[in-house]
Symmetry: C2
Subunit: 250 residues, 2 copies
DNA sequence: ACCGCGATTCCCATCCAATGAGAGTCGTGT
DNA sequence: ACACGACTCTCATTGGATGGGAATCGCGGT
């Protein structure tokens, strides 16, 4: 054996190492990382050591590994995420201040909804979303918006794929989902009552960028039986504000 | 030649490639990246290709490369930056709402001040700071706070190193800097008038984490001759709020 | 249309850096 | 004392990374 007996490139390995970190598992030992990334013990230690030396990972008050600030810096300083987020922040703050519930911004990424930002007040209700976390397209209000305004291939891929339920109320039937998407397009917003957590209702609207394509979804998470109309008004105001900041002339 | 004629590891190369991206240069061609990272043309194309395939980089409306959402996601979902930022956001919003000028949060990273977050209102003045951007410790109010409350070795390193001026008013004399640091420790805040831009004054206070160590600096950027006292009051309120969220019991 | 330049892709012989088994050390919990 | 796991170090092996070169593509200039 030499350069990788397992036939994977060095890049693959680095990515696998980074992927062993999740929103809930933020510190691990080198050995744990190795096990999860499927690397032999000694290789894992060597690779982790290199990453620590380069600053992409950090070794804290001894032995445990976490994501390094350097990686955060490299990733943040020039990603679109930041531009969108910056354009959306003022509007999101306003929505959050008026609706007083979780306010979030999501984009489409690899057939899932990726959450770029989330603002929560002290009195906000339940919410499983995390910044840099993901939710399936068919089960979240943000996802439904991104899916409804996404391109044809995306919809086919999702509609023909598995539609795992998160609660008893999640849409799992392709036909029902297609109908729901048509409704979202017609209304210009998505309401997902109890799709993710039975106690919560998500409401989302599309946000268009300067090219007129739907680039993101702006959403709030209400308590299940709160009225959606007041939130919708705020979402639409916020949406327009963000679109203006992005350069979209509707 | 085989595995790197230049004697650098694959990890080094990947980091060098990522480092060619800066806050102002967010899209480049593969060839540009290669030149800046000091890689032979064909190697640069191959490496960039691998990174694109793994999702760490993205190729847009053709040929140009940018940082990938995947990298942002990996970096963001489990870094301390996020925890600190989340703890600080509500307080920062409050400070920004009342002072109505740029409000920022910085930490110490590799002998520089790294800015984690920045909130700006419509009426805010000039400000060179960027999220995930850096400023030298001796020349920014945030940096002065982080330096003043940092450990001995850090101070020695900075005081004996070069102290390049950014404006005519930046402190460049080690003795004067040492005096300034003592003042910052005594007052519990730093004022930097015209150190970075002649037209602006930075004001910063330290933020302690649950262990009692200064983990960050909370700051605002005022117009040069604005009174600092009102801002200081808000900064101190905000600082206490963040410390409480972090679990510091002062 | 033609030319030139740079970006990009493809090919492939070379060969050394990365690899991982193994043995040993350290630290912790029982 | 013992067991177990995390970690470190060494070293022979070798296949994947490397980069020079050639061909192709794309674009702006003339």
């Amino acid at each position: 054996m030499a350069n990788s007996s397992s036939g994977d490139s060095v890049t693959d390995r680095l990515v696998r190492v980074l992927e062993t970190f999740t929103p809930t598992r933020t510190v691990q030992t080198a050995a744990e990382i190795g096990r999860r990334a499927g690397l032999p013990g000694s290789s894992a230690h060597r690779i982790v050591g290199e990453l620590v030396e380069s600053g992409l990972l950090e070794r804290d008050g001894d032995r445990r590994i976490r994501i390094g600030m350097r990686l955060w810096e490299l990733a943040t300083r020039s990603s679109q995420a930041l531009r969108l987020r910056q354009a959306a922040m003022p509007a999101m703050e306003r929505v959050q201040a008026r609706v007083r519930e979780h306010t979030q911004l999501a984009i489409l990424e690899q057939d899932e909804a990726l959450f770029l930002e989330r603002l929560s007040g002290p009195g906000s209700g339940s919410n499983v979303t995390r910044i840099a976390g993901r939710l399936p397209l068919h089960a979240s209000s943000s996802g439904l918006v991104l899916l409804a305004f996404g391109d044809r291939e995306l919809q086919d891929r999702i509609l023909t794929g598995a539609l795992p339920p998160l609660t008893r109320e999640t849409i799992t039937d392709p036909v029902a989902l297609r109908r729901k998407l048509a409704e979202v397009r017609a209304l210009g917003h998505a309401v997902a009552r109890g799709f993710i957590e039975t106690v919560a209702t998500g409401v989302a609207v599309p946000v268009r960028d300067e090219t007129g394509t739907v680039a993101a979804a702006l959403s709030v998470v209400l308590r299940r039986d709160d009225p959606v109309e007041p939130a919708l008004v705020e979402l639409h105001t916020g949406k327009r504000e963000i679109e203006r900041a992005l350069g979209f002339r509707g």
